[in-house]
């Protein structure tokens, strides 16, 4: 794939105090590419994608998103962040606003879009995640799966260039996982650039262009889903896959 790079991480290192959480990460995400990151708990997956919109700060190396280098003195943080959507494990919807308002808030407050237009966009994306009828409810009135789909719609309303997912289905009951995965698959089909931290290997196999395996703060293996699942090169990957595919 030779399309332009949306996220470029070069020799990135991050510490939490003394703890070396990310070690020399090199990763390029191209436009339209779908990347799945997996790895054992504590391997630094969340930390890595949270560096991509600078919810976390890295200490060494460079991260360039959409041509803007992320660093502490960056002035256009808001501009960068509003072009990078993020979906969280625990949804993090705004509980004091209706579903519709959750989706309208970003475009109105950050991009200065008019209320009428924000409303139109919001309804359009709620339609896309197939819950337009819930628009006037509050988040607590929805099931987990519905809440996560609202969260996806909320991010989409900002018309981001890339979407980051941090274990979007791991807080959901099994029967709700598929509705969220379907939404994500639909997004992928429409050509959205995506970086997903997930343990849903079926999703990875079906959707990902590349699977990245992390362990102990490092990228251990990087391969197409086919290679990754049928011919993993590293022992740690094999161990991880055997554990995760056991059940």
């Amino acid at each position: 794939m030779s399309a332009e790079a949306i996220i470029e991480a070069k020799a990135v290192s991050k510490w939490y105090g003394q703890f070396h959480a990310l070690k020399d990460i090199n990763l390029t995400v191209h436009k339209g590419e779908r990347i799945v990151i997996c790895g054992p708990s504590g391997s630094g997956k969340s930390t890595l994608i949270r560096c991509f919109n600078r919810l976390e700060a890295h200490q060494e190396g460079d991260i360039v998103v959409n041509g803007v280098a992320l660093h502490g003195k960056m002035e256009n943080v808001a501009a960068v962040r509003s072009n990078v959507g993020m979906v969280f494990q625990h949804f993090n919807l705004f509980p004091h606003m209706t579903v519709l308002m959750n989706c309208m808030a970003g475009p109105m407050w950050v991009k200065g879009v008019s209320a009428a237009e924000a409303r139109k966009t919001a309804l359009q994306f709620l339609e896309r995640v197939r819950i337009p009828e819930q628009a006037n409810k509050f988040p607590v009135q929805l099931s987990g799966g519905q809440q996560q789909r609202v969260a996806i719609a909320r991010s989409l309303c900002m018309k981001p260039d890339v979407m980051l997912f941090d274990e979007p289905t791991s807080a959901l009951d099994p029967e709700m996982v598929s509705e969220v995965l379907e939404t994500m698959t639909g997004l992928a089909r429409d050509g959205m650039t995506m970086v997903c931290v997930t343990h849903e290997m079926g999703f990875a196999r079906a959707v990902a262009d590349r699977v990245i395996f992390m362990d102990a703060g490092q990228i251990v293996e990087e391969a197409t889903p086919d290679e990754f699942f049928s011919r993993p090169r590293h022992d740690r990957t094999k161990l991880f896959l055997s554990q995760i595919l056991k059940h």
Partner: protein, 324 residues
């Protein structure tokens, strides 16, 4: 109310042991009190004869009668539905209260004569002073809370010094310090602004802590979601964090408002003609202190009740997004 269980609880006031214990306690208390000089004893004259000479038997009979009335009352109220129960108990306590004031033999004409002035001057000043102070204190509280949570050393130091100082001194002393101290520095200040300043600063300090803890009670995920969408600090605070912190902040803040309303009486010491000042001075000439004090007390109470009602309305409003 707490979240009630679905299993019907037994009614406490209908349990035999409770009724018996209550009866015994009331009986003993009123025997010990020796009610033989009261008008209730007069009512009992047909049973016990001359109250003052009725001795132990008289005391027992009076105590017994009161205990019967009391216990019967409680048991009967126990049958009523919840709302009625609450209403009846309120009413009875109120009647007892009025009966208590009745014993002062207050002069109603005197109260009627002074009441208009007590309200037009005293209540208006009290409300004026506390309302302005509440607004200023709330503004200070938001700023103070943000400062105490910031990573700016100056802001944190100033805010924590401020809250420590103004929570650490008695309000009365702050009133004096501001009224008498500021002129020493060359700022001559009138009594009313001095009072407002003292109240605002003192309550601003308490409310800073309330706001700070309210803001901190909001999940970090809300900050992360806001940031991930490009919201800046001020926007996140104003639109996301504060609206969610409000339901947490409102109950203790309502408390502060009520307590501020009454603490505004402290500015009477510097000669502000508010409710407390007038209550103390209006009755002085004719030695009718009790009349004015009790009237003022009732007015304070009614104002507090208004605040309580407002508070519960607001709480109900914010409960909306919480229910499923």
């Amino acid at each position: 109310m707490l979240y009630p269980d679905t299993v019907e609880a037994e009614i406490l006031v209908h349990k035999p042991w409770f009724v018996a214990t209550m009866f015994a306690i009331v009986l003993l208390i009123f025997m010990a009190l020796n009610m033989s000089g009261t008008s209730f004893a007069e009512l009992m004259r047909p049973v016990i004869g001359e109250p003052s000479t009725s001795g132990l038997y008289g005391r027992f009979a009076i105590g017994f009668a009161i205990a019967v009335i009391f216990t019967l009352n409680v048991v009967l109220i126990g049958f009523a539905p919840l709302r009625l129960q609450i209403g009846i108990v309120w009413l009875e306590l109120l009647l007892l209260f009025i009966a208590f004031f009745e014993t002062f033999h207050l002069s109603l004409p005197f109260i009627r004569e002074k009441l208009p002035f007590l309200i037009s001057q005293g209540v208006v000043t009290t409300l004026y002073v506390s309302a302005i102070s509440i607004v200023i204190a709330s503004v200070i509280a938001v700023a103070g809370a943000v400062a105490k949570l910031s990573s700016n050393g100056f802001a944190y130091a100033i805010a924590s010094f401020y809250t420590s100082f103004f929570r650490g001194l008695p309000l009365l002393m702050q009133v004096y310090l501001i009224y008498l101290g500021l002129p020493q520095l060359g700022f001559v200040i009138n009594a009313v602004p001095a009072g407002i300043l003292a109240l605002s600063l003192c309550y601003g300090a308490y409310m800073t802590e309330i706001f700070r803890s309210g803001i901190q009670s909001i999940d970090r995920g809300q900050w992360e979601a806001s940031r991930s969408m490009g919201f800046g600090f001020a926007l996140t605070m104003r639109r996301i964090i504060l609206p969610q912190a409000l339901p947490v902040i409102i109950p203790p803040t309502g408390n502060q408002f009520i307590s501020m309303l009454k603490d505004s009486s402290l500015v009477s010491v510097i000669g502000v003609w508010e409710l407390m000042f007038l209550a103390r001075t209006l009755g002085q000439k004719t030695f009718q202190h009790m009349e004015m004090l009790i009237s003022a007390a009732m007015i304070y109470w009614m104002l507090s009740i208004c605040l309580e009602l407002i508070q519960s309305r607001i709480e109900r409003h914010y409960a909306r997004s919480k229910v499923r």
